[in-house]
Symmetry: C2
Subunit: 333 residues, 2 copies
Amino acid sequence: MKKLINDPRAVVDESVEGFGLAHADLVTVSADPKYVTRKDAPVAGKVGLVSGGGSGHEPLHAGFVGRGMLDAAVPGAVFTSPTPDQIIPATLAVNSGAGVVHIVKNYTGDVLNFETAAEMAQAEGVEVRTVLVNDDVAVEDSLYTAGRRGVGGTVLVEKIAGAAAERGDDLDAVAAIGDRVNQNVRTMGVALSACTVPHAGSPSFDLEDNEIEIGIGIHGEPGRHKIAMENADGITNRLLEPILSDLGTASGEKVLLFVNGMGGTPLSELYIVYRRAAQILAERGIAVERSLVGNYITSLEMQGCSVSVLRLDDEMTALWDAPVHTPALRWGV
Amino acid sequence: MKKLINDPRAVVDESVEGFGLAHADLVTVSADPKYVTRKDAPVAGKVGLVSGGGSGHEPLHAGFVGRGMLDAAVPGAVFTSPTPDQIIPATLAVNSGAGVVHIVKNYTGDVLNFETAAEMAQAEGVEVRTVLVNDDVAVEDSLYTAGRRGVGGTVLVEKIAGAAAERGDDLDAVAAIGDRVNQNVRTMGVALSACTVPHAGSPSFDLEDNEIEIGIGIHGEPGRHKIAMENADGITNRLLEPILSDLGTASGEKVLLFVNGMGGTPLSELYIVYRRAAQILAERGIAVERSLVGNYITSLEMQGCSVSVLRLDDEMTALWDAPVHTPALRWGV
């Protein structure tokens, strides 16, 4: 294992510390319990947005803390859910009185711990709503999940619900738009290589030299099937088909197309995937109104990508376009 | 070789095509000869900025085309200089009459081809100035270079000179500020793994399982030495020492700290490097006024990073902060 780390057990501590130093103008880091808040939190009158999950998916979630997106992010150990004793103080810290929305990727540990934290925060008088993200069309149940996993769509939920909170929507409205994004987004991923959790020290799964895993999870958990390596167009076809069929897109619809890198794949390859995905959508008469290409929800140094398609309506498009100022996503400000 | 590509010889064509589709609001792609221009080029009265070089370093350079940065980027084949017959039309396309600045990384092929193109463009009546970037402190001469190589500092030259052009500086002034950035920036890189050029099909150099290369070039060309793997703090010490000693920074100075990923290293690890680099600067009484962390000048899927330190003055800081709207760098708009 070759990594730019010191003590494998200190990876999250040191990485979050460096993140806090690099973005001290935007965020405040609480070291223990560990969570990251927007520098000006709580924002008076605004619904607070909190997300979190295992580390190893950077920039998700801490990279999305800032104006127009999250108020707090709660990083767990690598590929391990954050605990209620982190989520509770993060929730309290961003509550201005308008309540807090938890955005939770559908993994059993995350769901349980956010649920516990929501109950405890509510006992302290904070109204909490939860948006569950489960956009992965690859598998119904997986190693860490009952039901579909939350993957790339999470970034889009956080951006759009974050913009709704920023414009002053109330608690139920912010949760509702988050749910609407989740209902209209589907994602599918592929791995060309495994990744190594620092404290484990060896790859989390095996892939032969000429083998890839279609429908991979963001923790390297199994997807649909391993197949022999194919070219980018063939792989992209395999990702798009189940996405579009599950989403039920029709000609004339407008979408956001998101090609996400898993961490170890060059940007140039993501654009080759984007090219084919855009061709497929064009062939079906679907208009790509917005796009996002880059490493936004990763799996350490895994090689591979995921593709997400979000069916847009005018309100979602406007909220997507609204100003955002976070370490990893920024425009309009 | 496992890559998200189709024909290895079509990688640049298809990647740039996908890039053009994803960012059609910002850029125009000329397929043959291949170059990318800002959508509204030429901008009346503004000095044009053109950069380019071998592909495989994305988002550099095409990702920096747009308002406040480059007017055109000229991508060569992977790790291969672009040719004059690409650079000339790109130069002509962005000339509004105010002249054009070429920003050229110091590699023999790039220098020759940009020089030829500059002469030809000048023969057609376009005034051209050249800013040569040679910020790499690792080696004096290398496999592809006489003198120091141009590496991470290029991104900072393009941003700051781009802002100067955008505010209306004339040709000589834009070239002068570009030179000033180059004179005040130093960079050093490290590779944990090699990378594979698609049409070559095998890694461009060898590293043992417990070996890293200090002072690596962005094409995998040799650096200072191979050493046994060390921890992140030790590696960061090795990168910072020659940078600061060569730059001659003194206590009380202000700098921009740029930790750049080589393409295959997780963002979380870049922040661990950032943390140690920030500690070193703090110990020396140097103030980090601005920061940049991410994959901005890469070497395909290479694992590793480079660190750049730019000595700031007030004008450079103001130009760094000026609005920029490109696919890979955006703020203030």
